[in-house]
């Protein structure tokens, strides 16, 4: 390349760069927060259990939220990063979850019990949020890979943050080993896809696939390999092996974080990959057009099989669990299965149903894990047996847990019902009746183990009522703040549905 060529390249790039920076404010705010959290931690080093970098992160998230509200839309950084309504919706889910998780952490006895240095904890959460932001908008295979790695790297360390507890370091190690394998498989798939199409941008891959003959089997294998990497993140069967152990061993806050935020980001990239790379886009397409799949590779069937496996295995194994965190781990596998039903539909109705489901799932799952954490703070146990009589010892926790469990089952009038309703409607509209039937049957199974949790709280151990658990006012306020969306979104869901419908569209080029 001679200097003249470089000059042309540079000047054509500068315009794009200036435009991109405007689109990149929320992520920039996150990186600045990330660095500030490290700096603040250096100055508060001598005071263990100092919450200073936690507050800095919360303020940083707040600033990010302001930028996110006013974010313009468009393609940025030479087609590697899309800022569109779709990614902004997922960024909101990630941001709210991260905010709530940091607030949760302030109440965790497990984390603050041992005079632990907590600075890195917040830093890593902010870094992970950055990774998930990138993942929601990435349209370039290298960026997708790096975003997944950023997210995983932080979650490996966070899962083992209480490293003197044996099961936490074991969880972390298992997570790293499975994670390394799955990311190896994924990057192999990426290399096959690149070798096939000669492009790393999803739009470039799409254009090449549309215009050229490619080998079906190679396309299928590379796609499956990439989906395996993403499936690991959303803990879909058969890539779920790490889930129960990691969820059980990690600190409760991190378990909640993994089960909501990294799952949401994983679904964002799965949907974007299927839509932007593997679907034919015509000029006159509207939001209601069904996606027509490239080269007749049956992605619908592959995703549907993953979905059925995840639901069934998740729900049936959850029935036997005696540890509440493990139970919620299998429940989260099952929920990944329900959400995958929406992906299998492969149209925008399915996408908006997934968004509704994830937004609601965020509130119910965070609520359930918060109750688990508060109970563990008081009774030092996560065993289902020890939950006996909690309903009498603390009616607050009992009632809250009951609401979250009913919501996770998907019964009216809670929000969980609305989430399931939209996903099942999308599946039925697309004509996959068998999938809907399996989904409904699975929901019935799930009722059994969700009920088991609050049955233990209220129908057993009434004699323990004389050992009341006192909750502080802030804990009660947080509980109410988590209960309200679980009930309110079950009754007034119009706003959320409209927002999700308006956000289902993706920028392609």
């Amino acid at each position: 390349m001679n200097p003249e060529q470089l000059k042309i390249l540079g000047s054509s790039f500068l315009g794009d760069l200036l435009k991109s920076v405007n689109l990149f404010y929320p992520e920039t705010a996150l990186v600045v927060t990330f660095l500030l959290a490290i700096l603040v931690d250096l100055f508060t080093r001598n005071r263990p259990s100092c919450k200073m970098s936690g507050y800095v992160s919360l303020i940083g998230f707040f600033v990010t939220a302001i930028f996110l509200c006013n974010s313009p839309q468009g393609m940025s950084f030479a087609g590697t990063y899309a800022v569109d309504a779709f990614s902004i919706f997922f960024k909101w889910i990630v941001l709210i979850t991260s905010f709530v998780i940091i607030v949760f952490s302030f109440f965790s006895k497990e984390l603050f019990g041992e005079e632990r240095q907590m600075g890195e904890y917040y830093t890593l959460i902010v870094g992970m949020t950055f990774g998930m932001f990138l993942l929601s908008g990435a349209t370039n295979l290298i960026l997708i890979y790096l975003a997944i790695e950023t997210m995983s790297m932080s979650s490996y360390i966070l899962a083992g943050y209480t490293k003197e507890i044996k099961r936490a370091s074991e969880a972390s190690l298992k997570y790293v080993i499975y994670g390394a394998t799955s990311s190896g498989i994924m990057i192999y798939g990426i290399s096959l896809l690149f070798g096939l199409t000669g492009s790393l941008n999803l739009s470039g891959i799409n254009a090449y696939l549309a215009g050229n003959n490619v080998n079906h089997i190679t396309l299928l294998i590379s796609g499956i390999m990439i989906i395996a990497g993403i499936g690991y993140k959303i803990s879909a069967v058969p890539f779920h092996f790490w889930t129960p152990d990691v969820y059980e061993g990690a600190p409760v806050t991190i378990t909640a974080y993994l089960s909501v935020a990294s799952k949401a980001a994983g679904f964002a990239i799965l949907i974007r990959l299927l839509n932007s790379a593997f679907t034919i886009h015509a000029a006159g397409d509207t939001i209601n057009t069904a996606w027509s799949v490239m080269k007749n590779v049956d992605w619908t069937m592959i995703i549907a099989v993953l979905s059925v496996l995840s639901m069934t295995l998740g729900n049936f194994v959850a029935v036997w669990q005696t540890n509440v965190k493990r139970l919620l781990a299998y429940s989260s596998i099952a929920h990944a299965g329900y959400i995958l039903m929406g992906v299998a539909v492969m149209n925008y109705t399915g996408v908006s149903a997934i968004m509704i489901y994830l937004a609601i799932y965020m509130f119910m799952n965070l609520g359930a894990f918060f109750v688990v954490m508060i109970i563990a703070n008081h009774i030092d146990s996560e065993d289902l047996e020890d939950y006996q009589g909690i309903g009498y010892r603390s009616p607050w926790l009992g009632v809250a847990m009951t609401i979250f469990m009913v919501s996770l089952t998907g019964l009216p009038p809670t929000a969980g019902f609305i989430g399931k309703l939209y996903v099942f409607t999308a599946v039925l509209n697309s004509g996959m009746y068998w999938l809907a039937v399996i989904g409904v049957l699975n929901s019935v199974v799930s009722l059994y183990y969700y009920v088991k949790v609050f049955r233990n709280m209220f129908l057993r151990g009434a004699e323990k009522a004389n050992q009341p658990i006192e909750l502080s006012l802030t804990v009660k306020v947080i509980l109410i703040a988590l209960i309200i969306p679980n009930i309110a979104l079950g009754i007034w869901f119009g706003g959320l549905v409209n927002w999700a419908n308006a956000s289902a569209a993706m920028i392609l080029k």
């Binding site: 890593l124 370039n140 960026l143 070798g195 080998n215 089997i217 190679t218 294998i221």
Partner: protein
């Protein structure tokens, strides 16, 4: 068979053979040292593909950095050189299942590689790839490049955290 093919197969044999030693050797020191030849062979293949920058990076990072670290790690761990690695229960069933899945996977991949019409970029004579890589990193791939820096910082913080006593 022309000269390029011969050189390719030479490196390929080195890679496969030494990788097999890495996996199969019971002595962890032998594994670490034969990893050297695997990395070296891969670097050779890069040179063959005209990817000079990546070849040098491979030598500097994998052989100069990672491998040395591994060997140091092995040597600083007590009693490791003579240690028999525990391989758990490897009965006939495990060998059969492992071998079968390897054969199926290998067969599929070989079939795929031979039957696919891969994307071929127009061949341009290149003198040095460093400049082109540098220009790409700061233009088309700017965001991945910057994202990698955050990733590395996170990894560093994590490593320090794990190494810290409390």
């Amino acid at each position: 068979m022309n000269l390029v093919d011969i050189v390719f197969y030479f490196f390929a044999v080195i890679i496969v053979a030494s990788a097999a030693v890495v996996v199969l050797s019971k002595n962890i020191m032998y594994s670490a040292f034969s990893l050297l030849f695997t990395f070296f062979g891969v670097a050779g293949i890069y040179v063959l593909l005209n990817a000079d920058f990546i070849a040098v990076t491979q030598l500097m990072i994998y052989i100069g950095g990672i491998l040395v670290l591994i060997i140091f790690g092995v040597m600083l761990t007590t009693k490791i050189t003579g240690l028999e690695m525990k391989t758990g229960i490897t009965g006939k069933a495990q060998y059969a299942i492992g071998g079968l899945s390897t054969l199926v996977l290998g067969g599929t991949l070989i079939y795929v590689f031979n039957s696919t019409s891969w994307f071929k970029s127009p061949s341009v004579p290149t003198t040095s790839t460093v400049e082109a890589i540098g220009a790409s990193l700061l233009t088309n791939y700017l965001l991945p490049f910057e994202a990698a820096s955050v990733l590395l910082l996170l990894a560093m913080i994590g490593a320090a955290l794990i190494a810290r006593r409390k």
